[in-house]
Structures are given as structure tokens and as C-alpha cells.
Amino acid sequence: MNWNLLLEWVSEFGGGSWPRLRDACAWLGARGTSDRWWSAHQLSCFGHLEIDWDAQRWAAPPPALTMLPRGGGFAIAAGGRTRSFRVALEEAAADRDTLWLTVVGQHEAPDALFIQCEDEREVARLAADIGVAFDELAADRIGHLLPETDAPVRAYPDGPPNRGFETVRFDADAMAWTSAARMDAPGLYRVEVYWRHETWWSPAPGRFGPVPQAEGMYLELARRGRNVLHWEADARSGTFIVPQAVPLPVLQARAAFLCSGLAPSLSGGALHYVNVPYAIAGRISRSLRQELEIARTADPAGPAVRARGQGGAPASR
């Protein structure tokens, strides 16, 4: 998969229907329906794309620059990335002695564009000069905006909405889907309605509500009282660890991604988002009704020994 070409194309095209994007993913090498869906979903998690799956449409958002939290003066370019934008960014950065552009290639994501500065006002001026937006700390802002996961449900007096279709149920303990003949017990169900899955959340017998799969899994984990999100502190910030079986919903994933500008790495069956401050990891967890578990603290002193005011990473919640 040529991720850069995919990002350039969605940005140049602007927006359209899901089949058009799916065909582009297929032509670029994504094999099978799930791969194509995953490719588009990844771009969405990285903030390069917005996809309304219900309406089957997508749009590339405007490009923007933002600083990384505790990120060593690094800013990243997110949002759409037309070729004209990239050229403008490269030329504008080359003209400045106080900004340094670094392109980092990634295996499962488009190139990350890092701009290093001593003063973020330089990056703000750069953004203004090339005509794009600048956000001081988009990760923090989106972290604040995250809505608490919920699903409106209603009664289905005529029976559950899986009549005649294959159904699986999410097992919160195993974090896996298992076959289910009925939908009479509370839980999260996935109904295979022909071409796609529909996910239904049932908090009580006879009551159902459609819910995106990622949000639904966290609703079920919360209903079962399972906490699966971990945060591992390092000297400056921390690593946010998410089980691969229950990936973050898009906005939550985007907040975590914008902490480093790098796609999460997969290790030990979990996705590792690096450079995620505890505060942002905590907001993500709360939005998913999760208690954030502290994996371990590499440097209990945190990034700075504070003479007063708030401390760094807490020892526990």
C-alpha cells in the first residue's frame, strides 16, 4: 500500500463516496474488504480524512500544523495533504533558519512531516504564510472534546434486529467475537447484514441501539467492568497501550496519534501510542468509560522536579 499516494489522492480529490475511496484503496494494493476499510479507517484515525460510514461518504479535511505535547519543539502537519501543500510547506521551511522540516517514512501510515522549532510562534507564522491553520496543541484540545461513549437504545417489541442473519456476540473477557444464535441477553452483537456488519448494543433485554463497533466494544467492556487501557510512563511523557482487539474509536485514536504524529506500533497484541501525556491518556480513557491502568513508571520523578504546582505523572489514579 502506497500510503502517501493514497493521502495525496484523497486530498486532491477532496471527498466523495465510500465506493470510490474503497476502489482507490484496492487499486493501491489493499486486498479484501477488511483491508480497504482498515486503510481508510487508519487515515481517519491520523486526522487525514473524515468518513461518515452511515452515509458512506468521506472528505479530506484542511491541512493544519500543530505542536506535539512535550514534543521537543516538534510540530507536525496533519489533515489533508495535497501536493501543492507539501511543496509550499517544504519551500517555506527551507526559507527559514529557525525551522527544520524532517520527513519520517512509516510502514503503515503516510510520511510524518515534523517541523522543529524553538518557538511555536515561528510555526504559527509559517502556517499563516502558506495559508493553513495552526493549533497550539491539537492533541490536548481534541482530548478535551472527547464525548463520553454512549448509544441511544430503544425497545424492539417485535423481536431483536437480527432476524434471519448471522450474529456474533462480543465476549468482553476474551475480547473476541463468538457465535450467537439469539440476542436476548444484554451485550454487544454484530449482525452480518449482507455486505457489511451492523453492531447493536443491548444494555438490557429487549432494548437495542445501533452503535459503531469500536464504541460498542468499550460500552460492553464498561458494562462488564473490564479495564483494558494502560499507560506506561517514561521520562517525559508516556506510552498509551491499547489492546489490538479493541482499537480506539476514531476521535480517541486521533487524539493519541496527535501526541507524536506517528502511527501506533503493534507489540504483544497491543497498539502502542508513544509520547502520550498522562492527562490526554486519562481523558481518552474516561471518554470510553475506562479506568486507565498505570503499567509502570520508568522515571517517577517525571519530566521536571517541580518546586510547586502540579506534579508530573501521578503514582496512581
Binding site: 471527498g15 465506493p19 516538534f74 524532517t102 434471519g164 452480518e192 455486505w195
Partner: protein, 755 residues
């Protein structure tokens, strides 16, 4: 005394040089319903000519038959209507055309025409067509401005040619036999007296009338004046019977078969090569099929195909000219799944089409998009799926060909699965299959496809049908069961451009690096070139153009044998931001510091969220300041290098120690050079002290960040105050070149002494 041939007198005078006001013995005026003849020859019992000026001969109303005059105008109006705009206009008169002109059944109309012609024949003379010669001569002398009065004879000649394939027991090449039958001439008349002498001049006259007198405004002549020797005298008539009007109506289907769009231009030679392949597979007239394979017809066909493509409006028509569009079976994906129909909307289709459904219910179909009318809430039955369905209105009809296997693909405009003629390449599709073909379907799919699975039907499908999804045919089986042809992707009869990253710039425009793949129908037999350079297809006949490193160009040309296909490529649309018309934002409702999901917003360019809403697009959040979270305080950024930093504020007690750490592992892995570190400083930094462990300036150095006089105590904590005081006892001083810093440092030393 035998009548002489009036052609002989004027044969040597070019038509265009003839005087227009020559007094002749016979002249007709252009009043179709009551033609008036002045002078001339006597008509016979079959009507058509009057003896006395000012007296009209028997008309259709009076005799029940049309006269030659009426047929002449009828033919001219039908085949050579004003406004043809230079398009080829063959006089392709056959039984159907005669019926359309006359408003009678096909056989009766043709007989009426033949009868009108027979009425002007002069049996027993050496030129059976003497009267037509006379009409021709008078018409020429009158300046050729009126409708050629001898058109009915030419029409009968073409009609005979059109019947050459139709008669049992007669050689299909026997033209004269058909003509004698129409003219009711006994077989002994062979050759037909006067035919060879008369007809060439009449055809010349028609060509002159079309091309010179009207300058092509009534269409251009497509008459063959240089036929092969063995059809020397009948070649002109045969050339007109090649493509009948009904055949040309079907060219819309041919262009759609080639996946062309209105406005496309294709090399005429390429069009003809595909027409030759397409003609045997479609119900064209025998003459058209024959002409498709006849090299002598090539030039005329090229002209007609190119001209008709240029004037094509995108519609497919039946032989009567009525617009024909497809009905698709649709399967909605939303719960509960529903099977319905959708009527295709082709170019030029009305905004609203009135149709009558089976059972007599009339419905009005409103346009949904350029390609579709709104889906019809009519679930097709088992019988209709298997045997086909046709619904129609006055000007348009929609057809669903019956089948035991419907290929369904996601349609982005309908938002559901919709049946297609053939499975697309490189895209999974579904198939709605009748139970009676289950074993054939399973055998085909098990051998040729992967990833497919049969789905539970729910209640959406008619009884006896099942659904399979996820079909991608990987290899075409040798023994494809009949009825499943639609499951096999066909990259197209033309040079097919498949995949690629198309840009919304109209036509075949692609992003550079995202050029499509070309599929070559017969890669071993045909030479392929891309922009004039040889290109080698792979074993499957595919040329991935994106690997050729093509630069941006307004036109790239792919040539495969005689066929060419063009496309263009753009490096960029030139836009810094994606198209603003396609915005999509996550909508959040703000309630104090809490936010709740509110679906999606599709704002227009420049629009802002209403009060109480926040939109998230990519990494940007927009909304009024009171609904957005406050931006975080900018961190203190410190250069890497020193062993540690002390940050001192104006108020005693404001002190932050920042140990300089190694670059984070993730940054090192990414290859980022870590030049700065950050600290969240809860106060305004005034002094920044750095301890260098090595180098010529090892020890502490101080730098003034912001000039502020010492302030009040920030804390009563003695340890913090002692630490603050200690910062001024480390033995470092500001650079003497900065007198403000030196003076301020002294002030801080004084303040530290007071603690």
C-alpha cells in the same frame, strides 16, 4: 414511336451548371397534401400524375394510397429532415422505415410505395423508368431546389436491397429478383430495361441535392458511386441499405457497450473495428451485419459511426427510436434489507418519467442523480427476475433482462447494491442466484473465486433465490456455465483503463503516479505503445501505467493495434486545501465543559458551527470561544546540551529545576534530532541558568529571559525560598555586554540577601 430518354439530352451538362428557369414540360410544387402538377405526362390508373395544370391528382385521402409526390416528400422528411447538420444521411428505406413514413403496417406501407412507383412505369418500352427520367430532367432544369420527385423509385431500389437476406429460396445476393417482385415485373425482364441507364443519374441527382443544393443541411450523401464492377449499377442502392435507420437507432447501445460518454471522440478506424466485433452479437439488420464485415463498406461505416458518435446524446434507443434504459435490481443494506428496482437515467432523460408498473399502477419517477431515478418500491417477483421485466411510458421504457444470476455491486449514488451488466474488475461483487442454478454457481465459485460466502437471506429475497457476497473472480474457468457470464469481469472491448486515481476534472484525468492500468485484449497479437514508446503487457494483458513514470501531460496516448485511447494526468489540482465543497465534520454538542456526539455536519465552505456546537475536521476544532476548551499554556522550551537547567521566576520561591534527559526512544527510532526539551513552567521565567558539564564554559551560565524586577514572596516554604536564594549563589553572572541583565541580576542578588 418510342419515347426517347430525356436523360440523354441533359446528361452531358453538369447538374450544378444547369439554368434554373428552363421551361419544361413537367414541374411539381412542394405541397405534399395536395400536389399540383403543371402539364406533363398522363398518369395511369395507379394514380400520381395529373394531366391538366391546376388539377390535383388523387391524394391519399381520396384513393387510400399515396402518390409519388406524397412519397417523395414523405421520404425526404423522414431521411433528409432539415437540421441534419452535415451528418451522413443514407436513404436507408426498409419495411420499417416505410411503415414509419406512411403510418401503416410494414408490409402495407412498402406495397403502397411500390404501387406509387409502379404507377409511373412504362412497361413495354426500352426504358421502364422513362417517366422518372423525365421528372429528373425537369427537376434539374428547375434548379434542383425542390424535393427530388423521383425519390420513391430510389426508395424502392433500396427497399429491394434491404430485402436481399429475407426471402427464402432466393440467393441472398439476388438483388434484381427482389426489385422485380416489388415492381411486379415478370422474370423475363432481365435485365430490367432502362435500370442501368437511369439509376446512376438519379443517385447523382440526390447526392447533388444533398451536398450542393442544401450544403449538407439535410444531411450528407453517403451514396457509393464507385462500387465494385459486379455491382456497378446496384452498388448505390446497396450502399444505402447497409445501416438502416433502425440499425442507427441501436448505435446508442453500441456506444454504451464501448463505455463511451457523450462528447467522447474515438478514432473512426477504432470504432469500425469494434463495430465489426459487436454487430454479430446484436439484432442488427442483415444488411448491417453484412456491411460490418464488407471492406467495401468500411469508409461509409467509418463516417456514419464517427458522425453518430459525435451527435450521440448518451441514450440507448430501440429500433423505433424510443429511449431504452435499464432497470436494476437493488438490495438495500440497511435494516431491514429490501429488494427493489431502480430505473437508469441516461443523458437527456427527463427529470420526471411517468411509467406504468405491472398491475397497472402508474408512478412518476423523479430524478435522483444523473444516473438514476429514485428507486421504485416494487419488489420484483421470482418470475420477473427469471423472465425479465419491462415497464414503460410514452417516450421511454425500462427493461430488466431475465436471468438466473444477477451480479450486484455497491452503487455509491443509490447507496445500496445494484445489479450491473458485468462484474467489475478488481472489486468484490455479490450475486443473486436462483436455487435451480446452485450447483453450477458453487462449482464456478469454488474453482474461480476466493473470499465469497453465502449469506442468510432474511426476508428480503424472493423465494427460491439466494445471495453470495464477496465474489472476486480470479481466473476465468474454461467451462463457464451458461448464464453466469456476467460474473466474469470484462475489462471492456475497447482499450480499458482500469483502476487508477482519477481526479474530478472530467473525462479520464488521473493523478500522476496514479495512472490506471491498461488491459490489452490480445497482448500477443497486438503491439502496444504508450506515448509512442513500446510497452509490454504482463501475462494477464495488463500494463500498469503508474510504473512507467509518466510526467504530467494534457494527453497521454495508449495505442494497441489500430485502437487508441487517451487520458491526461495532473501532478496536482493546484489546491492547497482539499475542495471546500466537500467538507465533513464531526459534530459535538457543547454543554459546559462536557461534549456529546451529534453526528456529522456537511458544512459549506466558510461556514462556522452554530452556537453550542463544535466541529472537528481532521485535527482542527472550530466553534465559538466559549464552547472550545482553552488553549494550553505554551511550554518553556530549552535547548539540549547543558546537564541541567534552573528556571527562576521574579517571586522568591518561583524555581523549577529541569534535568536534561536523553532524547526519547521513539524520537530516536524515528530519526528525529532532539534539539529542545520542554517544561511546563507555572510561573513566568525571568532567569534561565544552565549547567554545562563539559566544554570551555563548564559550570553555570545565566541568561535573562524576561526583564522583571524581583517580586513578593511566592511561598512561605523555607526550603523553596532557600532553593530560590541558592540560584543566585552558584557563581554565575550575566554577560557584561548586556547591562540591563547585569543591573537586574544585582537587584535579584539584593532580593536574595533579604531572604
Amino acid at each position: 414511336m418510342r419515347p426517347t430518354n430525356p436523360l440523354a439530352a441533359s446528361r452531358h451538362a453538369p447538374v450544378s451548371r444547369l439554368p434554373s428557369q428552363v421551361s419544361t414540360s413537367c414541374r411539381l410544387t412542394k405541397t405534399r397534401s395536395s400536389p399540383v402538377w403543371y402539364g406533363g405526362h398522363a398518369g395511369n390508373d395507379e394514380g400520381g400524375l395529373a394531366l391538366t395544370p391546376g388539377i390535383a391528382p388523387g391524394t391519399g385521402e381520396a384513393t387510400g394510397h399515396w402518390t409519388c409526390v406524397e412519397w417523395a416528400h414523405g421520404i425526404a422528411d423522414y431521411f433528409f429532415a432539415p437540421g441534419m447538420g452535415g451528418l451522413p444521411a443514407p436513404l436507408s428505406l426498409d419495411d420499417d422505415a416505410a411503415a414509419a413514413i406512411r403510418g401503416l403496417e410494414a408490409g402495407a406501407a412498402a406495397e403502397d410505395l411500390a404501387r406509387a412507383v409502379r404507377s409511373q412505369l412504362r412497361p413495354g418500352t426500352d426504358n421502364l423508368f422513362w417517366r422518372f427520367c423525365s421528372l429528373w430532367s425537369d427537376w434539374r432544369l428547375a434548379g434542383c431546389s425542390d424535393v427530388p420527385p423521383y425519390l420513391p423509385l430510389l426508395g424502392v431500389a433500396v427497399l429491394a436491397a434491404s430485402r436481399m437476406e429475407a426471402s427464402a429460396g432466393v440467393s441472398p445476393t439476388n438483388y434484381y429478383r427482389r426489385l422485380r417482385e416489388l415492381l411486379r415485373l415478370p422474370a423475363v425482364h432481365h435485365p430490367i430495361p432502362g435500370y442501368d441507364q437511369t439509376m446512376p443519374d438519379l443517385w447523382q441527382g440526390l447526392a447533388h441535392w444533398l451536398d450542393s443544393v442544401h450544403g449538407g443541411a439535410r444531411g450528407r450523401s453517403s451514396i457509393d458511386f464507385a462500387p465494385d464492377a459486379h455491382v456497378r449499377y446496384i452498388g448505390s442502392a446497396l450502399s444505402q441499405a447497409e445501416l438502416r435507420r433502425s440499425d442507427r437507432q441501436r448505435l446508442g447501445a453500441f456506444f454504451r457497450y464501448l463505455r463511451l460518454a457523450p462528447g467522447d471522440a474515438v478514432d473512426p478506424e477504432e470504432l469500425l473495428s469494434y463495430f465489426r466485433a459487436w454487430a454479430p452479437t446484436t439484432p442488427l439488420s442483415p444488411g448491417a451485419r453484412r456491411a460490418a464485415q464488407d471492406l467495401r463498406s468500411a469508409e461509409r461505416l467509418r463516417q456514419i459511426l464517427a458522425a453518430d458518435l459525435a451527435g450521440w446524446d448518451g441514450r440507448e434507443r430501440d429500433s423505433t427510436g424510443r429511449t431504452v434504459a435499464a432497470l436494476a435490481v437493488t438490495l438495500s443494506l440497511r435494516y431491514p434489507p429490501t429488494l427493489r428496482l431502480a430505473a437508469e437515467r441516461t443523458a437527456g432523460s427527463p427529470e420526471v418519467a411517468a411509467v406504468v408498473l405491472p398491475g397497472g399502477r402508474a408512478v412518476r419517477l423523479a430524478a435522483l442523480t444523473d444516473r438514476w431515478f429514485e428507486p421504485i418500491a416494487y419488489p420484483p417477483s421470482d418470475k420477473e427476475l427469471r423472465e425479465g421485466l419491462r415497464i414503460g411510458g410514452d417516450a421511454i421504457s425500462f427493461t430488466l433482462p431475465g436471468s438466473d444470476c444477477f451480479v450486484l455491486c455497491e452503487d455509491d449514488e443509490l447507496g445500496c447494491l445494484a445489479s450491473v451488466r458485468t462484474a467489475p474488475a478488481m472489486r468484490p461483487c455479490a450475486a443473486l442466484i436462483h436455487d435451480s442454478r446452485r450447483s453450477d454457481a458453487m462449482k464456478l465459485l469454488q474453482g474461480a473465486a476466493t473470499g465469497w460466502r453465502e449469506r442468510s437471506s432474511g426476508a428480503a429475497l424472493p423465494t427460491g433465490w439466494f445471495l453470495i457476497t464477496g465474489i472476486e473472480i480470479g481466473a476465468v474457468p474454461d467451462d463457464l456455465p451458461p448464464g453466469f457470464e456476467a460474473l466474469i469481469p470484462k475489462p471492456g472491448t475497447r482499450i480499458s483503463l482500469v483502476g487508477g486515481l482519477r481526479l474530478p476534472r472530467g473525462g479520464d484525468c488521473y493523478l500522476t503516479g496514479g495512472e490506471p492500468d491498461v488491459f490489452v485484449p490480445d497482448p500477443e497479437a497486438l503491439a502496444c505503445q504508450v506515448d509512442g514508446q513500446p510497452a509490454e503487457p504482463d501475462a494477464s494483458g495488463r500494463i500498469p501505467l503508474s510504473r512507467l513514470g509518466l510526467a504530467e501531460a494534457p494527453q497521454h496516448t495508449v495505442t494497441v493495434g489500430p485502437a487508441t485511447r487517451t487520458f491526461r494526468s495532473l501532478h496536482s489540482t493546484g489546491l492547497l486545501c482539499p475542495q471546500p465543497s466537500t467538507r465533513l465534520a464531526v459534530r459535538l454538542a457543547a454543554n459546559g465543559s462536557r461534549y456529546t456526539a451529534g453526528g456529522w455536519a456537511g458544512p459549506a465552505h466558510g461556514a462556522t458551527p452554530p452556537a453550542g456546537e463544535v466541529w472537528v475536521e481532521g485535527m482542527l476544532a472550530s466553534g465559538s470561544p466559549d464552547t472550545l476548551p482553552a488553549p494550553p499554556r505554551a511550554p518553556l522550551r530549552l535547548r539540549s546540551g547543558p546537564a541541567e537547567y534552573l528556571v527562576v521566576g521574579a517571586s522568591p520561591g518561583d524555581l523549577l529545576r529541569v534535568p536534561v534527559l536523553r532524547p526519547p526512544a521513539w524520537a530516536t527510532r524515528a530519526g528525529l534530532v532532539w534539539n529542545f526539551d520542554e517544561a511546563e513552567c507555572p510561573f513566568e521565567p525571568v532567569w534561565i541558568l544552565a549547567r554545562w558539564a563539559t566544554g570551555p564554559h563548564s559550570g553555570w551560565q545565566v541568561h535573562l529571559a524576561v526583564a522583571r524586577q524581583p517580586g513578593e514572596l511566592a511561598t512561605g516554604d523555607r526550603a523553596l525560598l532557600a532553593a530560590w536564594r541558592g540560584a543566585f549563589t552558584l557563581g554565575c553572572y550575566p554577560d557584561e555586554a548586556d547591562p540591563q541583565a547585569v543591573e537586574l541580576w544585582d537587584a535579584y542578588l539584593d532580593a536574595a540577601d533579604t531572604i
